[in-house]
Amino acid sequence: MKRLAGRRGLVALIALAAAAPSLFAQGPDPLAKLDTAGRALVRSLVDSARAEGLPSEPVLSKAQEGVAKHAPNPAIARAVRTVFLSLRQARNTLGPKASRDELTAAAAALQAGIPASALADLRASGHGKSITVPLVVLADLVTRGVPRDMASHTILQLWMGGAGDADLLGLPKAVEQDIVSGAAPGDALVNRARTIPIRLPPAKVPE
């Protein structure tokens, strides 16, 4: 009896030792450097994102980014909450079928100050195509100083005109060159957009 118990104990020990690497592989808590309230907030927002069917990785990633950048706890909490609320607004704007990339790009565009109506216009004119690229380019242009309305209108026109992803992705670099050369960001965008061949809708014939 004693021998059987001892053998079972030894098997349990070996199993524990074998499992230890995989237990350890789960790693230290990435949020360990946050204070208790910050950790609780992040976990709560991650759980909420999952419960609402939103991607939760961007929420956790923003907290990890803040920790890596040695940001103070209140700033991390603020940034994480902003990401979560932006994702929620993005999903409400783009609809439940929006992909993860569309949602994260739309959330970033909203954080850049792009109005939700501009996102909805892009979605409506996308004919089922992914709008990740125009959203990412739109957010980029605004961060380079292009006025939001002008950026939104121009990208929408290009998108509706059938501009390709490569054309849109080439815009920011070209606009930046013009800005460095002294052009106003808005003018730089308009000028560069004119060089992209698009199929504009037929103009209305004045009566």
């Binding site: 995989s22 980014e65 803040g66 890596a68 940001a71 850049a112 992705l169």
Partner: protein
Amino acid sequence: MTESERDPNVEWIAREARRPVESSAGVRARVMDAVRSTPLPVRPRRGMGWLTAPRPLALSPLGSTLLAAGLVGIGLLLGLAVTNRDGRLPTEQPTAVAATAQLPVHDTLQVHRFELEAPHASRVALVGDFNNWSLAATPMTRSADGTAWTVTVKLPAGRHVYAFVVDGAKGSKWVPDPAALRAPDDGFGTANSVVLIGQGSAT
């Protein structure tokens, strides 16, 4: 109590016990032969014999605890050896490979080459949402001419946010990729970059 007052049964047992044992003359010889034919106890084995010889193992509660602690400790050390600081297995990390950017690896992973001009840097690391913003996960390599730092990593398709951490004479500095798309304000006062993998051409 005198001899005559003892119990007769006791008297009988005592008498039988005092009587010498009678044995045949050959018994002594047979017993001694049997003793001589019995092999002597085996001397302790050496080498592999000692290692493989079965023997009972008895452990006290304290000894069992120490053995358990030792085994778990070995397991943890093994875990430490096969994982990185952020707790992910090496296979989960963006892996540096020598390849041209945007070669398809399989359905969901593509290799992408990151490059930064930083001739005065002593060390540059790539950090982003694909490596949990770990400063140690993806160090970059200085180019042969010493002006640029590069790393090629496997990334899943999609939108990724990243930055470079440049160590120089004035300490560490987070910088965006000047050749990439820009991400909006990160909320922490530094700028990030965006790369789109598998959508149009990567930027």
